[in-house]
Symmetry: C2
Subunit: 121 residues, 2 copies
DNA sequence: GCAATAGCTTACCAAAAAGTAGGGTTGAAA
DNA sequence: TTTCAACCCTACTTTTTGGTAAGCTATTGC
């Protein structure tokens, strides 16, 4: 068993899953991968069904694990932006693969996501 | 929202996660990716901490989703082998990426998995 | 002045995922 | 003939995860 930060993993795959598992994490990473920098509200509105609680939780964990960074733009009206960190960017091939694999899988099942994307909003 | 098999997904990434999410699935796929064909017991013994319940559940789902195949070798003494299906094999780049990313991440944290692999059994 | 928007947090509750413990068949080995 | 190993399944409980709803600060727009 591999021990890291009070958690145990059976192998490197298991360890990686510890960071990118979680219902919304890859979706957030994917979104930031596409659009570079986004505010809290933009991320929220792009993830249909996410609750405020879940979102801020996941954002915090992603930040803690150094996959994203949070820039505080202004304090007086409190405004922020989230961007991928270097480690987060290193996951780009993963995010892209998962997305493409999904598109391909959906296509096999009669759903042309790229073409009909506007329908799935 | 994308609808498929009575489940809804927000995007292709979400859909993919529906198949490879779950605590043990990528670990099973990773193991089969490394060793091509394996029996139930071999898989079980390679996943420290997995319960029989979890294992058979995940194997069933992977089979249902056409990511692995189960060959019944003999019936009288009931013996089987599990192998990756074509769709399962198409996930190879994913599995490898996740593994390498994990190794690299661990290394940054002072754990040389490849070198010390024998210690983590 | 009052509502609305951004950006959260917290308490509480429900649902889903995972763990525990046991059972059960078949057949080969001791 | 007792035991062991492969290959599971099922009922029950616990843990984890996720959802709901409310609240809080601060600023901008009407």
């Amino acid at each position: 068993m591999i021990k890291l930060n009070n958690k145990t993993y059976t192998c490197p795959v298991d360890a990686t899953l510890g960071f990118i598992g979680g219902k919304w994490k890859l979706l957030v990473l994917s979104y930031l991968h596409q659009f570079t920098k986004k505010s809290y509200t933009e991320i929220r509105d792009n993830l249909p069904g996410v609750s405020e609680k879940m979102l801020s939780q996941q954002l915090k964990e992603l930040e803690r694990d150094n996959l994203i960074e949070k820039n505080i733009l202004t304090l007086k009206p409190y405004r922020v932006e989230y961007i991928l960190s270097k480690d987060g960017e290193s996951l780009a091939p993963l995010v892209e693969f998962i997305s493409k694999w999904g598109v391909s899988y959906l296509k096999k099942n009669g759903i042309d996501y790229l073409k009909d994307q506007h329908l799935y909003k």
